[in-house]
Symmetry: C2
Subunit: 216 residues, 2 copies
DNA sequence: ATTGGCATTCTTGTATACAATACACTTGAC
DNA sequence: GTCAAGTGTATTGTATACAAGAATGCCAAT
């Protein structure tokens, strides 16, 4: 086990919420979770603190903690913000990216391409993530990078779903090409726009997907 | 005292760090703070969790928690992000702001003007905050609003300092006018640019201030 | 039958006790 | 005299014990 169990438990709980074991509105029982993880309530409570700050759970005083999954509206809002954040990263990266990083970015993109050809969704997902993280990094603003990573992580489970939509991976690749081109050309506004659209479309796809599932 | 002392302690510690009682690198002693607040270590530790997630302190496992004030570089990065976030709020608000909110915004701005005429820095600070919060709100994106508020709060102690620079309030007012005009005109890009510059200049001013103080 | 009040029980929030690790100081050897 | 190793102390991390508030169920009254 880890040195600091409270942190490990926070991660595990996060996974459990992402995986759907706990859904919106569920109360997280301190005692049950404590015995489940084989620890006392103390580290479980410390984990709750962390989760509540990330927004995954909500603490009602003297009532307990409840998992709080974003609804369709909030999700759309989050994707909108993600799109804008990535646009900022792109705008700054276009001005600041190094030649070496540009090369690495192109490599990551080629790996994406290969994954598309092999219809390997997992590989695509992995390389796509690397692609985006590189752009965050090349914004040259560590604070921005951290914020982007935070939000990216938060949207992870929702982004994954819409990857399996027909033709999405191919379309996404075309968008990547445009993004790389903008960075090569060192045109900040083009990079911002292409990245914004690239992410915004994810939000919209997801929204459509939700809408088509809801009436059922 | 409050019902939930851990939260109250988190707030108090935040204030203590902002006020400068604890400076960068200081170790926060659980026992000392516990007896200082008249509680046990438990609520103090819970408060630490919160603070570490906001980035005000850093937890080294088995070593303790240390206050972590951003250095000049990180501060500049944070202001850069704040500028971009506000630009986004402005762009969206220009499209979505209601007539009523526009009126309220103009009122807040007039209060700012009065404060400038009276050389009332406190009043200016208060109304300026209201002005910006209104724009966050009128972005029509609650999630974005929350994020903007979070960062705004984080930068509070640093923004306050540079308000006392000569002529800053007057210049700031001119910028406010341009922002309001852009929102009235419903021109998203103009709103984005004016807001970005308005905030970015704060970061630069602060940076200059720091630079002029550092050699001492 | 439904509603209001009381009591019981369960859960959260805090305090204290215990365990384990890191730091400091001392002591001894080279 | 300096460095290293070991012991002791202090501090963190976890478990348990206790206190206070909230939820639930039961009983009575309308």
């Amino acid at each position: 086990m880890d040195i600091r169990r409270a942190d490990a438990i926070a991660d595990e709980l996060e996974q459990l919420i992402f995986s759907g074991e706990f859904v919106d509105g569920d109360r997280l029982d301190e005692n049950k979770l404590a015995s489940r993880f084989g620890v006392s309530r103390t580290p479980v409570r410390e984990a709750f603190q962390k989760l509540s700050l990330s927004g995954l759970v909500k603490q009602l005083p003297r009532r307990g903690v409840f998992v709080r999954q974003p609804g369709p509206v909030e999700l759309l809002e989050m994707f909108e913000v993600m799109a804008e954040i990535e646009a900022i990263c792109g705008r700054l990266a276009a001005k600041r990216i190094s030649e070496a990083a540009l090369k690495t970015l192109q490599e990551a993109n080629e790996e994406c391409q290969k994954a598309v050809e092999n219809s390997d969704a997992d590989a695509y997902y992995r390389e796509n993530e690397r692609f985006h993280h590189l752009i965050y990094q090349q914004s040259g603003n560590r604070f921005l990078e951290q914020e982007a990573l935070r939000l990216h992580k938060r949207l992870k489970p929702f982004r994954r779903i819409q990857l399996h939509l027909r033709g999405r991976m191919k379309q996404s690749m075309a968008e990547h090409k445009a993004i790389v081109q903008a960075l090569v050309d060192a045109s900040p506004e083009e990079a911002a726009i292409t990245l914004r659209d690239h992410v915004a479309v994810q939000g919209e796809k997801f929204h459509h997907l939700m809408a088509s599932l809801k009436p059922a």
